[in-house]
Symmetry: C2
Subunit: 251 residues, 2 copies
DNA sequence: TTCTCTAACTTGTTATAACAAGTTGTTGTT
DNA sequence: AACAACAACTTGTTATAACAAGTTAGAGAA
C-alpha cells in the first residue's frame, strides 16, 4: 500500500513538488521571484485555488515568502535539512562578529549508522511515550552519529512504527534525509509534532561518542513527529555538542 | 496607525479570533468537535473559502486538528504560550515514568521585568544581526526573568524595532504574552523566523539570576522573529535552566 | 442478535468569478 | 529634472458551485 494516493495525482501537491524541486535544485535561487499565479495558470492549466494551495504549502515549509503586489520570493534554503539543521558556530559567544563568519562554508555532513534499523520494543529513556495502543506494536530502532567535516556533532536515536514501513530495513539511511525518504517512498509527510529541549552534561559513553570531556554541556532534543497518516508518529532523541556548531532552525 | 487593517474587518481573521477565544477560554475543550463548516456557515453567514481559511489558521497555530469525514477536533492547549513553553520536567532522565507526571499541575508563571523597555542601539552578544539598514534605527531593549512557581527558570533579552511600536514603553509586559500584545494592539502577527540553539555553562551573573551553580549547563535560545509586516522583525535571546523544567514546543 | 449496506453527515479538491489592495514602472505635467 | 498620477502588473479576499472521499449511525437483512 505504498503511495496509495497517487491514484488521483493531487494537483496542488504535484505543483508543490515541482516548484519545490526547482527551488532545491537551484533552478530558482534565493531572492528570485517565482512565476506569478497567472503564469503558473498558463503553464500548468491549474486554477487559482489549486495554485494558491501549492504556494501556501511552500510558504508553510519555508521555501518562499509571498508579498502582495510583488510576487512570491524564494527564500534561502535551510542548510542541513530536517526540523533543525547545524550551522558553524560563531567564534565566541561573548563577541559578535560584524562580518559574516563562514556559516556557508563547505560543510560535509556524514552519517554513521551505529545501530542499524531493527525491530524492538519502544526503548526507555525517551521523553515522549506513545499512546498505550501503539506500545503493543513493534518499532524500528536505530542509532546514528552525524559528523560535520569529520567531527562528531550529534548522536541520534530514531524510533519508527514498524507496521507502516515495509522493507525499511533494506533502505539506506546513510546519506538520505529521513523526511525525504518518508515523503517519496512511503508518501508520508510531516505535519507537526512536539519537542522537548534541555541542557545536560555529557555522560561517559556519550562523551566518548562525541569526543568531548565528561563535564561539558550537551543539548538534548526529543521529538514526537506527527504525519498526514493519523496513526503514524515517529520519535527521536538527539544529543548534540554545541561548542563548535550550534543547532539552527526555521519556523 | 494602530490597527489600520480594521477598516475592512477581514472576516476570516475575525472568525479565527472568535474560535480561538472560544478554545482558549474553555468553551470548546480538548477533544471536542468544532461546529462543522456548514454550521459555521449558518451561524456566521460566511462562505466556505472564508471559513476554511479561518480553520486553516487554527490548524497552523496548533489549536485544532482536522479529520476528513469527521470534523475539526480541538487539541489540548499549549501550556505556557509562546513559540516554546515550559513544562515540568520528568523526575529523572534515566527513567521514564509510565504514569503521566504532573505536567499539567498548576504552574504559576510570573514575569519580573529586570530592565524596563527603553531605547537603545542594537545590543552586542546576540546571535542574530539585523540588516545594515535597520541597525541605524533605535530599538526597544528589555530584560525579564520568568519564574515558575516562584523559581527563576529563564532569563530573556528582547529587542524590538522602535519605529513600529508607538507607546510601547507605557504598556505592561508583566503578565501579558508578547505575541498577544503585538497581535491585538499593533495588528502584527508572527509568521516565522530563525532560531539558534546551544548548551553552555552558566556564567556568574546568570548563575546568580537563575539560582544555579556556576558550572551547571544552561540552554541558550536566540531567535529572530519575522512578522506580517515585512520590515518588522524582533529578536530575543533566552537563557534557561533545564534541571527542574524543560522547554516544550509544538511545530 | 449480528452483520452489511446505505444514507447522511463530515472535510477535501478543484473550478470560475469579481473585486480589493499593494507594487512598480511609465507617462505626462510642472 | 522632479514630481504626480495613472496603468498594468502582482497577491489577497470573498462568493458560488459541483463533486470526491472519509466517517458514522441507523435501517434492514441474515
Amino acid at each position: 500500500m505504498i503511495n496509495d494516493s497517487t491514484s488521483r495525482p493531487l494537483q496542488y501537491r504535484y505543483l508543490y513538488e515541482v516548484l519545490r524541486r526547482q527551488i532545491t535544485q537551484g533552478e530558482f535561487k534565493a531572492g528570485d521571484l517565482l512565476p506569478s499565479e497567472k503564469d503558473l495558470y498558463l503553464q500548468y492549466k491549474l486554477t487559482k485555488p489549486t495554485i494558491r494551495q501549492a504556494l501556501s504549502l511552500l510558504v508553510q515549509d519555508g521555501y518562499i515568502r509571498k508579498h502582495q503586489g510583488k510576487g512570491s520570493i524564494v527564500k534561502p534554503l535551510p542548510l542541513g535539512l530536517g526540523v533543525m539543521s547545524i550551522v558553524g558556530r560563531l567564534v565566541d559567544t561573548a563577541t559578535v562578529e560584524t562580518d559574516e563568519p563562514a556559516d556557508h562554508a563547505q560543510q560535509i555532513i556524514s552519517t554513521q549508522v551505529l545501530v542499524p534499523p531493527h525491530l524492538s520494543d519502544f526503548p526507555a529513556n525517551i521523553l515522549f511515550i506513545p499512546p498505550e495502543d501503539d506500545l503493543k506494536n513493534q518499532f524500528y530502532y536505530l542509532e546514528r552519529l552525524r559528523s560535520v567535516n569529520g567531527e562528531p556533532v550529534f548522536f541520534e536515536k530514531l524510533i519508527l512504527p514498524s507496521q507502516h514501513l515495509p522493507g525499511l530495513a533494506d533502505l539506506s539511511f546513510e546519506n538520505r534525509s529521513l523526511f525525504e525518504l518518508l515523503r517519496t517512498v512511503y508518501n508520508i509527510v510531516v505535519q507537526g509534532g512536539e519537542q522537548k529541549l534541555l541542557a545536560t552534561t555529557a555522560t561517559e559513553p556519550l562523551a566518548r561518542l562525541l569526543g568531548v570531556p565528561q563535564t561539558s554541556p550537551v543539548l538534548r532534543l526529543d521529538k514526537r513527529v506527527d504525519t498526514n497518516n493519523n496513526d503514524f508518529s515517529y520519535y527521536s532523541s538527539l544529543y548534540a555538542r554545541t561548542d563548535h556548531f550550534l543547532l539552527h532552525g526555521r519556523f
